[in-house]
C-alpha cells in the first residue's frame, strides 16, 4: 500500500491533537465540535462568545484550505438532497443525544480513556460501517 496515503491523515491528526490540547491548556475546554455548536445555537450567558469564535475559526480554516489546498474541499457527492438532509438530521440529533461526536468522544474522550467515549466511538464507527455496508448491499454505493 502507498505510504504517502497515510502521511497526510497522520499529519492532520497530529494537528487536530495539538489544537485540542491548545484549547484545553488555554481555556480548559474539551474540543468537541457538536457540543461547541449546540452551545452556540442555544446560547447561555457568558458561555457563547468563545463558541462562536471557535465556529468562525473552523469556517476560516475552510477559506484557508480553499486557498492553499483546494483538493481538501473538492467534494464529490451524488447530488441527492434527501440523502444529505437525512444524514444531517441523524448527525445533529444523534450527537446531541449521545453527548459527542468524532472530536469530543473520538479524540478527546479516548485520550482521557473515558469509558463513555470509548463505548460511543466503537458504537458510531460500527454503526457507520453497518450503514455503508447496507448502502453497498442496496446498490446505493
Amino acid at each position: 500500500m502507498n505510504i504517502d496515503a497515510f502521511t497526510m491523515p497522520l499529519a492532520g491528526g497530529i494537528l487536530i491533537g495539538l489544537s485540542a490540547s491548545l484549547l484545553l491548556l488555554l481555556k480548559g475546554r474539551v474540543f468537541g465540535v457538536s457540543g461547541i455548536l449546540a452551545g452556540a445555537l442555544v446560547p447561555k450567558a457568558g458561555d457563547t462568545a468563545w463558541r462562536v469564535a471557535a465556529l468562525v475559526g473552523l469556517v476560516s480554516a475552510g477559506f484557508l484550505l480553499l486557498l492553499v489546498r483546494p483538493q481538501s474541499l473538492a467534494i464529490v457527492t451524488d447530488g441527492s438532497y434527501g440523502r444529505y438532509i437525512g444524514a444531517g438530521l441523524l448527525v445533529g440529533f444523534g450527537t446531541q443525544l449521545g453527548s459527542g461526536c468524532t472530536s469530543g468522544h473520538g479524540v478527546c474522550g479516548i485520550s482521557r480513556l473515558s469509558p463513555r467515549s470509548i463505548a460511543a466511538t466503537f458504537t458510531f464507527v460500527g454503526a457507520g460501517m453497518l450503514m455503508v455496508a447496507l448502502m453497498r448491499a442496496m446498490g446505493v454505493l
Binding site: P9, V107, T123, G128, M135
Partner: protein, 143 residues
Amino acid sequence: MSLLVSAYFSALMFGLGLGLAGMTLPSKVIGFLDVTGDWDPSLAFVMIGAIAIHSISYRLITKRDSPILTSNFHLPTKRQIDWKLICGSVLFGAGWGLGGFCPGPAIVASVSLDPSALAFLGSMIAGTYLHQFINKSFLAKEG
C-alpha cells in the same frame, strides 16, 4: 478577548487538520467505513495521530491547577454508559455513514458551497435544535 482569540486559533488549526487529513471529503470518509467493499483504512491514522498527541498532552496539561486563561478545567465527569449515549451514537454513526460528514468537517466544508454539504450542515443544525426541543419536552423529566 484573549479567550476568543485562543478559541478562534485552536479551531482554525483544528479545521486545517481536518482538511489536510481528508476528513472533509465524504468520499474518503465513506471509503474508511466501507469495510465490506473497497476499504480505505488511511483515515484511521487521523485518530491515531490525534490520540497519540492528545493522550500525552492531556495528562501534562491537567497536572496544572488551572488553564492559562480561566480558573477551572471543564471536563466531562459522567462515567455511566447509558441508553442515550448508545442510541445517540448509533444515530450519529448511521448519519456519518450515509452522508460522509461529521460535525467539524461539515462546518469546514460548507465553505466549498457544495449544495450537498450545505444541505447537510443546515439539517445538522435542525437536528441539534430538534434534540433540544425533545429533550426539554420529554427526556429531561427522567433526569
